[in-house]
């Protein structure tokens, strides 16, 4: 049994800075269970964007501490990767009632999250995948699309907020 923990932008935003008890709770959880959260490159780029209005979430600190890592580029030659990317874009387009090509442009990072999961499940390098996100549509979409690829029992959408709240409550 090998498990892959994929994290979306919102999980790292929700943790706050390293002085925050949420950040510390997630770090403790990762260390205790020997987990490294894997981020698609696009998610990493989103977290480290050059925007003077926002304080960077502590993704580089988590990477330095060894419990977060940026994924290798996707293997687009794998048919399942592009199928899942298309599938999740259609799912979001349907949920939000907008054209799929607009979703493709705007939400490539989400497609990368789901495709990363598909790539590992299909190659057998992971047998269980957890996708932690704060976008309900993203999590439900990933579960639905990967389910239609036959990975329904192997994929779990983790609500990033509830996950952190439970960790913090368990620590106090």
């Amino acid at each position: 049994m090998s498990r892959l923990h994929i994290a979306d932008t919102g999980l790292f935003v929700a943790m706050g800075q390293p002085s925050n008890s949420c950040y510390q709770a997630v770090r403790r959880f990762a260390r205790r269970n020997d987990i490294a959260f894997v981020l698609p490159e696009r998610v990493y780029e989103e977290l480290t964007v050059d925007d003077p209005d926002v304080e960077w979430p502590p993704i580089d600190a988590a990477i330095d501490e060894g419990w977060a890592t940026v994924a290798a580029p996707l293997e687009f030659s794998e048919p399942v990767v592009s199928r899942v990317m298309d599938g999740i874009q259609r799912y979001i387009a349907n949920a939000d009632d907008r054209p799929a090509d607009e979703v493709e442009r705007a939400d490539a990072a989400l497609a990368a999250l789901a495709a990363l999961a598909a790539q590992h499940l299909s190659a057998g390098t992971a047998t269980e995948v957890y996708i932690s996100t704060t976008d309900i549509a993203a999590g439900e979409g990933a579960e639905t699309v990967l389910g239609s690829e036959g990975y329904g029992d192997s994929v779990t959408f983790v609500n990033g907020f509830r996950f952190i709240e439970d960790l913090v409550a368990g620590d106090s």
Partner: protein, 199 residues
């Protein structure tokens, strides 16, 4: 038109002006949201729970009463106050767009005092921008939109969108009955087995 309906028109304008005051001043919005949540409170409760000085608390409460946003429910000693329900729908002249100003928006504005992300967002995008963000926050919690689509629509960075959506999330769950989707800690299996680090 009857005199009663003329008077009802006046009530609507009064509500409109009260709402404008609330949206303009986060301290008033915070107090209104507090009273709306508590049901009824005395000035002493306001002082204790919002950590306001006596003079400030009386001044804010009286302003809300004068504006018609708050009623005195018990004239005894101490007086008790309650928020009047605000649910004001504004329609654009063309009639093709309307927006309902809800207690959720007033609550969100009131949190400017205590939430740095909401404060920054109002600085950049105004209360009008916050109202738009709140609409996205409700849709996101319902699983209808993602932070990246909001970012695309509003031409802000996905990170800025995520930050304001997170800041507004508690407001959304306090005012709307939305079930939270997804699994939590108890469904994350961490027993025996390897983890993949994708290196």
């Amino acid at each position: 038109m009857s005199r009663t309906s003329n008077r009802a028109d006046g009530d609507i304008v009064r509500d409109f002006l009260a709402v404008a005051d609330l949206l303009e001043e986060p301290q008033l919005a915070q107090l209104y949201a507090y009273l709306a949540q508590e049901g009824e409170a005395t000035v002493q409760d306001v002082m204790d729970d919002l950590e306001l000085a006596q003079g400030t608390a009386y001044s804010y409460v009286n302003r809300l009463v004068d504006a018609g946003a708050v009623d005195v429910t018990d004239d005894g000693q101490p007086r008790r106050y309650a928020a009047r329900e605000i649910d004001l729908t504004v329609t654009a002249a063309a009639g093709d767009r309307e927006y309902t100003i809800t207690p959720a928006l007033i609550d969100a504005v009131g949190r400017r005092e205590t939430n740095a992300d909401i404060d920054t967002y109002i600085d950049r995008h105004g209360v009008a921008g916050l109202a738009t963000a709140l609409t996205y926050a409700v849709a996101r919690e319902r699983g209808e939109v993602t932070h990246r689509l909001m970012a695309e629509d509003l031409e802000i960075s996905p990170l800025a969108a995520e930050m304001i959506l997170q800041a507004l999330r508690l407001v959304v769950h306090e005012h709307y009955d939305i079930e939270e989707g997804g699994a939590s800690l108890d469904e994350v299996n961490v027993g025996d087995g390897d983890t993949v680090d994708d290196a």
